[in-house]
């Protein structure tokens, strides 16, 4: 099933998911680490309308 597009909270445009980044920071410990990668994986989204950048946990 295709992922739901993130909507830019600044301008309302549909954002583009162009990266996933893993973080091993201990301060991220309150989030569930990915069982395969051992850290927290975030999606990075950029807005083509206003260049805003947002992230969310990868599903």
């Amino acid at each position: 099933m295709p992922k739901k597009k993130m909507i830019c909270p600044r301008c309302g445009a549909e954002m583009n998911n162009h990266a996933e980044k893993i973080s091993y920071e201990t301060a991220e410990g309150n989030r569930n680490p990915d069982a395969v990668f051992g850290g927290v994986v975030d999606e990075i989204h950029t807005c083509p309308g206003c260049a805003n950048v947002e992230s969310r946990a990868a599903g």
Partner: protein, 189 residues
């Protein structure tokens, strides 16, 4: 197809040390970037960002610095070489952002009082750039014997740096355009 929005390339002055010659380098690079058509720049002086030193990382984001980083399409980092490494406060500042850097271009200007033009600080910074999600270009500008490259008021004394900076900036702008297109249009499959 190119976006009509100007490419934004801030210059990060990567040292807080008093008497820093890197300030002349950063000002020079900002002037050269500003000469490019449809390219904007700004000088980020890490000395002016009030980062706490009793914590580190994204928990101590500075709203202004993060907003500038988010708007950037590429970065120029002016890094003096201190004991063969980069200034600790530069790393402290860079570490406060992450998503703001991902898939953006970076070029590094090395600065040294000696003959090697900061080659060692550039090599030391490259793995950091990679982990921050930045894409390093293959042109550097090496300011060797920087005390001879500028006078005390920051006037450039060696015109060869103009051509060197031009090659570096052209490559950086190309990379910035390509990566902006990718960030905004090419979806992770």
């Amino acid at each position: 197809m190119e976006s009509g929005r100007p490419i934004f390339i801030p210059v990060i002055l990567g040292t807080t040390r008093k008497g820093r010659m890197s300030e002349h380098v950063a000002n020079f690079m900002a002037r050269e970037i500003a000469k490019q058509e449809n390219v904007r720049t700004a000088l980020i002086d890490i000395r002016n960002i009030p980062f706490p030193t009793d914590d580190a990382g994204e928990h101590i984001k500075d709203a202004g610095f993060s907003e500038t980083a988010m708007k950037a399409d590429a970065f120029v980092i002016v890094a003096p070489e201190y004991n063969h490494g980069y200034p600790g406060f530069l790393k402290h500042a860079l570490d406060t952002n992450l998503k703001e850097y991902i898939h953006k271009a970076v070029g590094i200007c090395g600065v040294s009082a000696g003959p090697f033009g900061g080659t060692r600080v550039i090599e030391n910074l490259l793995p950091v750039m990679r982990e921050l999600g930045l894409v390093a270009i293959f042109w550097d500008v090496n300011f060797s014997a920087v005390q001879n490259a500028f006078d005390e008021k920051g006037k450039l004394l060696d015109e060869a740096y103009v051509k060197r900076a031009e090659k570096f900036i052209k490559e950086l702008v190309w990379m910035a355009k390509v990566l902006r297109y990718g960030r905004e249009n090419v979806e992770l499959s």
